[in-house]
């Protein structure tokens, strides 16, 4: 019979080994970094990686990608095919993640469409392909290829015998019941058509066998497929030996007896020995592995170790690695590559987590377990490095050591000795810098990092990493300006980038309004390390940065606006004046406001006008850490406001720069108790658990005293990384209060009605103080009832 006879490979993939989707992140989506990517970056960078050019090893990469690093560290090849396979969650069909790989059929969609061609077909809008298992689990029971086969068969039968014929209708009714069995244990086949033509009888026999398979009656299915294999007249004969084998394999996994496994293996052997080209013959290795996983795990692990130790990557490397990792997780053995992967990651194992869940540990049980795992990982990595001098183990130790740890000097020294032609060299250079930043001579560090950055073959991710380090030893502000920028990678809406992050973190999105263009557009921005440094500079240095032409206009605007907030807070009207000139160009939406400020004489009116800008730009802050860029029209500027509080000259508050952990929010989140020493703003925690405390460049250190003195006049919008509301400092000036006082005292001032409108808005969206919105509302409607601003404010909200 003509027509496609599809290999039921997806069935084997599912049979084979853990063929489910990778477990996805669930719950709300998360913001992710736009310049550090632990998944290898874009297509070009990944290709270089697969071709043997190992960059900085990212300890937070998925395990299969860490395995790529292991191979390259040991002189083993990867290549594009193996690299692609290992960079994709195993073991769904390739088309699941890559649209450039065509899907061979349309699965259920194609089937539902095809069956509409049969008149009076039962209405079927949806077919579930899974069965319920224990513990709320579902398992795949039917696969796309079964639907593709059914679609092709239906089209063939309809073409030959007529879509409206009773026989085709009977065929369809039976097939619908077969697919019911995908999910419904109670599915029942309709009676066979009396006096059915031969073709229908043959198809019915096949459908009955498939029905038994989906119902889990595997032995019965095997018997039926065996009968079809002997029926020379059946068009399904070529598939039958494979399907019989598959049914016996399924049976073995359910019955779990020696006889069942032996029967399945015998069937696999028969299939393997069948004439070359027999349908499904290519799946015998997978099916053997599938059984070995269950009844000979130790032997399978030994086989996999041998296979994965080969210099060339096998075509099945992703599936093999998946089994290898799963056997490790099941404590079948401790193969070295997995040992290394788990050590560099230093995360609790599933077994440890299970023990924790079942135990009676206190509220510190998990942090204590994490700390213990990390200590053990570092000790183990050092022991393996000392015993083997295998650079991979040095890399694992480096990833887990803090700069202040007693082990750090020796490990840094070892990192410094890694040869430049070693695949571990870049990783060693990164950690060498991280571990020696605090004490090494700045000029020497600059020189070494410049040599790294000169390499034309750095990946985007690696260049961003080394720029972050180099910026922290910048010789002066001008050099820092150049080094503060990071190139964007893996734009989440650009599938042409070739990035694979979306395969592993489908719900992660990059932030907006932080680049050199509006919204989500843009190709570069400040690194988080750079933002932290900029926030710790004195105003004078920041002013120069905000005018540095090396920095794109949008980012200069961000610096200028935070400078403006600082200047207002400091009462530095001269600096405010000069900033308004810059901001007329950088934020022209407020051009009139900037000019009005310059034109106003010093005194209450001047302050009022300066404050009006604070009211019109809700995201205005003194620090880039929590600043939100105004974009679009004034009405479109992003909420929320803060309650602006100033302190008079001579009455500074305790200076509290934003905690460095706050800048790391796009990487590994540290929680609100994390100290500055625990942060890693260069790699955002993705390179390993070893911290990388921020090193202020020398020019910034020189201005630190001034910066600290100035910060005494920046009342934090939040006093800590937790959520406790901030108490007002003594003699505090609440900006809205002063604006309301000016408004009452100067009712004819042309800016007053609009200012009141903005105070009402601020009161609604986060910036209320003592019902400031209500007070503004009352004054606006009493004094200016017919004004546009009153008409635009029908309510107050606080």
């Amino acid at each position: 019979m003509a027509g496609r006879l599809k290999a039921l490979v997806a069935g084997v993939a599912a049979l084979a080994l853990l063929g489910a989707d990778a477990a996805r992140a669930s719950g709300p989506g998360a913001l992710t970094s736009w310049y550090i990517d632990p998944f290898g970056g874009g297509g070009a960078d990944l290709k270089r990686l697969y071709d043997g050019q190992l960059g900085v090893v990212m300890a937070r990469a998925p395990r299969p990608q860490l395995y790529i690093a292991w191979r390259l560290l040991h002189g083993q090849k990867v290549g594009q095919a193996a690299g692609d396979a290992l960079s994709t969650p195993c073991c769904d069909p390739p088309w699941r993640y890559r649209y450039d790989i065509p899907r061979q059929g349309l699965g259920v969609d194609g089937w539902l469409d095809a069956r509409k061609a049969v008149p009076n077909a039962a209405e079927v809008g949806y077919i579930s392909m899974e069965r319920d298992g224990p513990n709320y689990v579902s398992f795949a029971n039917c696969f796309d290829e079964a639907f593709d086969t059914a679609t092709a068969t239906l089209k063939d039968r309809a073409a030959k015998y007529g879509a409206s014929s009773a026989a085709v209708k009977a065929w369809l009714d039976t097939q619908d019941a077969v697919f019911d069995a995908c999910h419904a244990p109670g599915a029942v086949l309709p009676p066979a058509m009396p006096d059915a033509p031969a073709w229908l009888k043959a198809d019915r026999a096949y459908q009955e066998a498939a029905f038994e398979l989906y119902q889990g009656r595997n032995s019965d299915a095997a018997i039926r497929f065996a009968a079809i294999a002997k029926d020379k007249a059946s068009p399904w004969r070529p598939l039958a030996p494979y399907l019989r084998t598959r049914a016996l394999v399924r049976s073995a996994t359910v019955e779990k007896t020696g006889d069942a496994f032996a029967g399945a293996r015998a069937a696999i052997d028969d299939l393997a020995k069948a004439p070359k080209g027999t349908f499904g013959q290519g799946e015998t290795r997978k099916m053997r592995r599938f059984l070995d996983f269950r009844d000979r795990p130790k032997q399978l692990l030994a086989d996999l170790e041998k296979e994965l130790a080969q210099r060339e990557a096998s075509p099945e490397i992703a599936v093999s690695f998946r089994d290898y990792a799963s056997l490790y997780d099941k404590d079948v053995g401790r193969p070295e590559a997995m040992d290394w992967i788990m050590t560099i990651r230093a995360r609790p194992t599933p077994t440890q987590m299970q023990a924790l869940a079942e135990g009676n540990g206190g509220e510190n049980a998990y942090p204590e377990l994490e700390a213990k795992v990390r200590r053990e990982a570092l000790a183990h990595a050092r022991e393996r490095w000392n015993a083997t001098r295998d650079a991979a183990w040095l890399v694992a130790a480096l990833a887990n050591v803090d700069p202040a740890a007693p082990e750090a000097p020796d490990l840094a020294a070892a990192a410094g000795k890694v040869a430049t032609d070693s695949p571990a060299w870049l990783t060693a250079q990164y950690h060498l810098t991280r571990l020696t930043f605090a004490k090494a001579d700045s000029a020497a560090t600059r020189s070494r990092l410049d040599a790294v950055l000169k390499r034309p073959d750095l990946s985007v991710n690696d260049r961003n990493l080394f720029l972050a380090q180099r910026a922290q030893v910048a010789a002066d502000a001008g050099e820092f300006a150049r080094l503060s920028l990071r190139k964007r990678l893996c734009n989440d809406s650009d599938d042409k980038s070739g990035c694979v992050r979306g395969f592993w973190q489908a719900d992660a999105v990059q932030p907006g309004s932080v680049y050199d263009d509006e919204g989500y557009a843009g190709t570069q921005g400040f690194g988080d390390d750079a933002r932290a440094v900029i926030d710790r500079l004195p105003l004078k240095t920041r002013l120069a940065l905000g005018r540095d032409p090396q920095i794109p206009a949008k980012l200069r605007m961000d610096v200028a606006l935070t400078n403006y907030a600082r200047a207002v807070s400091l009462g530095d009207h001269a600096t405010v004046d000069s900033l308004t000139v810059d901001l007329e160009t950088l934020l022209p939406q407020l051009a009139a406001e900037w000019r009005a400020i310059r034109a106003a004489p010093l005194g209450p009116e001047r302050r009022f006008l300066e404050f009006v800008v604070l009211a019109k730009v809700p995201g205005m802050r003194t620090d880039l850490a929590n600043y939100v860029r105004p974009e679009g029209t004034v009405a479109q500027f992003q909420t929320p406001w803060i309650n602006w509080v100033l302190v008079p000259t001579g009455k500074p508050v305790k200076p509290r720069p934003p905690a460095l952990a706050f800048y790391q929010s796009l990487g590994v989140e540290l929680g609100d108790k994390a100290t500055d020493a625990q942060t890693d703003l260069a790699c955002l925690g993705e390179c390993g658990l070893g911290a990388s405390p921020l090193r202020l460049p020398d020019f910034a250190r020189a201005g630190a005293a001034q910066a600290t003195a100035e910060r005494g006049y920046f009342v934090p919008a939040q006093t800590s990384y937790s959520d406790e509301p901030a108490p007002l400092p003594p003699a505090a000036i609440v900006v809205w209060d002063e604006m309301l006082a000016f408004a009452r005292a100067n009712p004819k001032h042309p800016q007053v009605p609009e200012a009141l409108y903005w105070i009402i808005r601020a009161g609604r969206w986060g910036g209320s103080y003592e019902h400031s919105g209500k007070r503004a509302f009352e004054l606006l409607h009493k004094a200016y009832p017919t004004s546009t601003w009153a008409k635009r404010s029908p309510y107050y909200y606080d």
Binding site: G27, N360, A506, V509, E669, Y796, Y797, D798
Partner: protein, 243 residues
């Protein structure tokens, strides 16, 4: 005298309810979970399904990781839906029907079906279409719940179109506006949207000092639960002032 503020606002007036316990519901997401430690008065919302709309393809699957839980503690079946933003979405009425049928099938094992579907502004019609179709097919007696970004409840009013019995604003991973919202709640305020006042969600790793009393509290843990995690967050919730 000016007009009083409308209900649609973040009122500082406290919620006037008597002291009563917040029903706690533990979210069991797609990872191995052993919740046998959960006390009798805690409920479980288990993710039982995953749906992805990827261009013109629909990927549907059930839960893959086991959930161990005592008795009939799972009162909510959660179906997570997401859109693959690497592909232009091919959205048709037929697809909406299929998605809804998938949701109903995957979420059929509890008395509350919760749809967890975070959408961008342009995708709101997709979410609403799914919810309408799910509502139409929901068995009698089953409640329909949805998770929501906190910002949807604070600053946006399109949620009135969602035909659900419960909206669960998530008070974590909220982005720049989140800190102010949490501070506002800490001061005794509430969500602007009245539809968001029957439930809320908090995370173990970003506790909040206060939230309006008397509503269902869903508990999120970024990692698999332990008894200690639950006890810590339970104490934190119990410490919220009443009213």
């Amino acid at each position: 005298m000016g007009r009083l503020g409308a209900l649609a606002g973040l009122a500082l007036a406290c919620v006037a309810v008597g002291a009563r316990a917040q029903p706690l519901t533990i979210w069991a997401w797609e990872r191995p979970e052993d919740l046998r430690f959960a006390p009798a008065d805690a409920e479980v919302a288990a993710q039982t399904g995953f749906i992805e709309l990827s261009g013109n393809r629909l990927i549907v699957r059930g839960r893959r990781h086991p959930l161990s839980v005592a008795g009939n503690r799972v009162t909510t079946a959660v179906v997570h839906v997401q859109i693959d933003h690497r592909r232009p979405l091919a959205w048709t009425p037929e697809r909406a029907t299929q998605v809804a049928a998938s949701v109903l099938r995957l979420g059929r094992r509890a008395r509350r079906l919760q749809v967890d579907f975070e959408v961008r502004t342009s995708e709101r019609p997709v979410l609403l279409a799914v919810l309408r179709e799910v509502r139409a097919g929901l068995p009698k007696g089953v409640e329909l719940s949805m998770t929501a970004l906190a910002s949807w409840c604070a600053t946006e009013d399109w949620l009135v179109e969602a035909p659900v019995d419960e909206v669960v604003p998530m008070l974590f991973r909220m982005g720049p506006g989140g800190e102010r919202l949490k501070a506002r709640l800490a001061a005794g305020g509430d969500f602007a949207n009245p539809a968001c006042r029957t439930a809320l969600a908090v995370s173990t790793d970003t506790p909040i000092v206060r939230a309006p009393a008397g509503r269902r509290v869903y508990l999120f843990n970024p990692r698999s639960w332990t008894a200690a995690d639950f006890e810590r967050v339970r104490r934190s919730v119990a410490a919220w002032p009443d009213g």
